[in-house]
């Protein structure tokens, strides 16, 4: 499945005329811009954590090529014609900066940003005007995706790795980061348990965390 648009314009900063549409779409899927928290609204039925353990395949701030291709295959063509990219909540930030329109969302537009586009070097949210799904990236190489059950199933299949495999790799890497802070002074990764529970639910999160080497994983009550 691929999206084409005769008026394709690559990436551009969002015009003020698009403001209300972007804010509405953002609010349809996200609670807030929280790459290290609980970003999705309760109404978003399915969520996924994508993580690439191989450093040479990972994208420092966003979707790597494989994950983007899987997303393009899972999403409806219509939702790919115009896609918003925001480095902050469009309602909370001054709107003249940090919000972009990718038209269409494809490998070329996403991987070849403009020389002064800010979103490629910052955590960013990717969401279509329909608000049917949303992606939020971090600057630690993990990406959260929310949408319908079918969308998440299709995306998961396209990634070629199960959710459990990706989460296990993610927790193992963070366990190593915590190893260099044995006393917990730096509070490295303290946000992980709450985020994992937000993605896979508290019961599954507890089991997964218990099986990991993560030093501290108190789940929020």
């Amino acid at each position: 499945m691929s999206a084409t648009n005769p008026d394709a314009g690559g990436s551009r900063e969002l015009a003020s005329a698009d403001r209300s549409g972007a804010a509405r779409a953002f609010k349809a899927v996200f609670r807030g811009f929280e790459p290290y928290g609980r970003p999705f609204k309760a109404s978003v039925p399915a969520r996924l954590l994508a993580y690439e353990a191989e450093p040479w395949k990972a994208k420092p701030w966003g979707l790597n090529d494989g994950a983007l291709v899987a997303l393009l295959q899972a999403a409806d063509d219509h939702d790919l014609e115009r896609v918003f990219v925001s480095v902050d909540d469009p309602e909370d930030s001054s709107f003249d900066e940090g919000h972009y329109l990718l038209s269409p969302l494809n490998l070329e537009n996403y991987t070849h940003p403009g020389p002064t586009d800010a979103w490629p070097i910052l955590p960013h949210a990717i969401y279509p005007p329909s608000g049917q799904w949303g992606v939020i990236s971090s600057d630690e190489s993990h990406v959260l995706v929310g949408g319908s059950e079918k969308f998440i199933d299709d995306l998961s299949a396209g990634l070629g790795k199960t959710q459990d495999e990706m989460i296990a790799a993610w927790l193992e890497d963070w366990s190593e980061h915590q190893d260099r802070d044995p006393d917990g002074e730096l509070r490295i990764g303290d946000w992980i348990p709450a985020q994992l529970a937000h993605v896979v639910g508290p019961e599954r999160a507890e089991v997964t965390l218990g099986a990991s080497r993560l030093r501290r994983w108190d789940l929020p009550t």
Binding site: Y36, P113, P115, T116, P120, I121, L122, D139, R180, W191
Partner: protein, 308 residues
Amino acid sequence: MYRAARRLFTGRDVLILRFTGSNGVVLALTVGCMLAISASVAAPTTPSAFDTRGAQGGSGPADSGSSYISVRAAASSTSWQRAALRRLQLAAAKLHRRVNSVLEKPNDADFLRVIQAQFDRAELILAIRNARAVGLETIARRFQRVLELETKRLNESIAFSDLLREGAAHGERAAQKAHEDNPNLTPAVLGNIAVNAANWHGNKALLNTTLRAAKQKGPQVYEIALKKGEDLDRRAYSLFRALSVGSRKTNIRYGGREGLHRLPDANGGFNGGLIGLRRAAETSGKKSPAIDVNVNGKLIKIHVRHEP
């Protein structure tokens, strides 16, 4: 042309350009950018024999010829003047040591060390201005001479002069091209183009040097490992400032406390990319500072961490 460009700069840059002399435009703006931050990023300075001689009021020659300054001139001075003199001595000693380190291995002198020397030059310039402000005109003049001598020694470093010369030549070519394209451009605008393009050359050289020196972890993520005990934030900030020479802070409020900086481009404008710094406390993850760069669509993240 370059003098005319001063009209376009802020007061900070105007001050610097006055000090540049024949060192070229790269030096000019480099020092200009460093001035405002030199005081905050300078490494703690251990008093050297050079300082001691000054503080003891001895009369022997110092390492750098006429760099010796007697403290007796300020024997009846105010505490402000004594502090100003101490600042001068420390800054001069630090610059002297730095220039020595550059000259020791002129063939290996990378751009980062040259930039560090520029920090130190800027610090001494500030100290001289400060001394003048508190009435130590005679002493300030003598330290001005120290500054000139150290600058001359620095210029003798092959790598230093080559980098500056290359940068200045590139800037000049960019300005010539702009003039051919639009003969109506004023000398001030052309000077601005020359300075920006020269700084692009410096950014490019330093970025390449940095990435070569970094331990490659992947195609876009690099890591600079420091010895345990070194201040990660301080080194990251120093590197960020060096990489962003000639940049202009954008109005974007993201990318850490420094915000994102717009880098000059090869043609003398400001489309050369974006750079941001996140200090350890400004990261949500591994609590180590990182520098984020978008250079013409090439995305680079540089982590600054301690050695394992």
